[in-house]
């Protein structure tokens, strides 16, 4: 069953088109990896889905809700946005404790204190940081901060989890922990996950499907095995073999 359908998306802040997608359908409970050269529009793609960036045209069907993206605002935008969670490449840690950082999205939703405590503790336990709940978030290492950002996302129990190069600044150990937690979230909640990554091995390890975005366009999409073993386009072949110059 499709979770997310995008149609005729055009992001054009000025004269240059930075993202142009004609049609894209993503199925529920899958992990999608989005790969492509730097500046190809991958992060823009996630921000459009997360309603952080408004395209000049385009429609999104989000779990059966038909949305006209350029005209979506106010409470309509908020309701859809609250069904998703986003983890950025460089996690923002608010100037408070780890617990409060993770609780923030729940507080925005007006959830009661007891439920917040329970869910935040569960989320922190999942990312292995329950013991750091009272610690000032800005004193965490990069890997720990990224795990807090992941806990902050998973505590919301989103239908769609968007990860924008979440492990690009992490050491191998933290990459491994992050990937394991991501798998756990997927298995436990059947969450649909989109992850932008520069690490092709990570895409292979995590994703059931891969998308290749180049120069703002979706060039190829396939299940992970086919994507890596039998790429159809010359661009993807060049990218996978490291020959693409950008």
């Amino acid at each position: 069953m499709p979770d997310l359908q995008l149609q005729n998306i055009l992001v054009k802040p000025g004269t240059k088109e930075i993202l142009k997608l004609e049609q894209l359908t993503l199925m529920e409970s899958q992990i999608y990896a989005i790969v492509g050269p730097s500046g190809s529009g991958k992060s823009t793609f996630l921000k459009v889905i997360n309603l952080l960036m408004k395209p000049v045209q385009g429609k999104m069907n989000f779990f059966g809700q038909e949305l006209s993206l350029p005209h979506l605002s106010g409470s309509g935008r908020l309701l859809v946005q609250r069904e998703m969670a986003f983890v950025a490449q460089k996690p923002v840690m608010f100037q408070t404790t780890v617990f409060e950082n993770v609780a923030m999205g729940l507080r925005y939703r007006g959830i009661d204190r007891l439920t917040i405590r329970k869910r935040v503790n569960e989320a922190l336990e999942q990312v292995g940081l329950l013991g750091s709940a009272g610690q000032a978030a800005h004193t965490l290492s990069g890997g720990e901060a990224q795990r807090v950002a992941l806990a902050r996302a998973l505590v919301l129990k989103p239908k769609l989890l968007l990860l924008d190069e979440p492990t690009s600044n992490l050491d191998p150990k933290n990459v491994s922990i992050f990937e394991q937690v991501t798998r756990n979230i997927h298995q436990t909640f059947q969450t649909t996950i989109l992850i932008v990554t520069h690490h092709l091995h990570q895409a292979r390890r995590l994703a059931s499907h891969c998308l290749f975005i180049h120069e703002g366009k979706l060039v190829e999409m396939a299940d992970t095995d086919s994507f890596f073993q039998t790429p159809k386009t010359e661009d993807l072949k060049a990218f996978l073999s490291g020959q693409m110059v950008y």
Partner: protein, 223 residues
């Protein structure tokens, strides 16, 4: 004169006038400054320039404008506030509000775009977004409030014009210093000046301690 009943009432009135002015400035300036720092809209650049200009507004000019507004035949003359502490509060509010707006705006703008995106992606309403950004920018905003308080309590031109330096009624520290200097009582003037400095030091110290205590309590809150 130091620490006589008169001096104490002068000090208390100074604190009262400036504190009320700051509270008004904070209530208007922080939300408005944060909004300006966060959102883009037509005319924002012009408005920003106007606010920066108003931050340097001479107190004596504010005094003249408030005087004209509150004078018997002025548009607000019916309030009968001229030569009262209320008039001094109005004048100082006009003085400090642009400072708080401008410095709040700068503090908010100093936060990276990723802060805003993270807050929005967590499902914050616009009001929750502004409140979170204010909390995140609080050090810069408090510095702005401290600057504004220092400007208010040390200004003399506006309060002299609209308050009139009436003994026991509208005399504050700065106008008392001028009076004592004119009368040749330099010791008294310097002592009042020292009191002014000490008050400023204590208030700024409280602000800094408040920020630290706030942070410590947040650390303890859920541990």
């Amino acid at each position: 004169m130091p620490f006589s009943q008169d001096v104490i009432s002068v000090i208390l009135l100074s604190l009262q006038v400036s504190t009320v002015a700051i509270v008004i400035g904070v209530l208007i300036g922080i939300p408005f400054g944060s909004f300006l720092g966060l959102y883009a809209f037509p005319g924002k650049r012009l408005l920003t320039v106007v606010i920066y200009t108003l931050m340097g507004l001479p107190p004596v000019l504010i005094g003249v404008i408030v005087y004209l507004l509150l004078s018997k035949h002025g548009p607000l003359g019916s309030l009968q506030w001229l030569f009262t502490p209320q008039a001094m509060m109005v004048a100082q509010s006009i003085l400090v509000t642009p400072i708080i707006i401008g410095l709040s705006m700068s503090a908010v703008q100093a936060k990276e775009q990723t802060y805003l995106e993270t807050i929005r992606s967590l499902g914050a309403t616009p009001a929750q977004t502004i409140w979170t950004i204010i909390k995140e920018s609080r050090k810069g905003i408090w510095a702005g409030v401290a600057t504004a308080y220092g400007r208010a309590i040390s200004e003399v031109g506006a309060v002299m014009l609209v308050g009139g330096n009436i003994e026991g009624h509208t005399r504050v520290m700065t106008t008392a210093i001028i009076l004592e200097t004119r009368m040749g009582n330099f010791d008294a003037a310097l002592q009042l000046g020292a009191v002014l400095l000490i008050i400023s030091f204590i208030l700024n110290n409280l602000l800094v301690m408040g920020i630290l205590a706030d942070f410590r309590s947040r650390r303890r809150k859920e541990s």
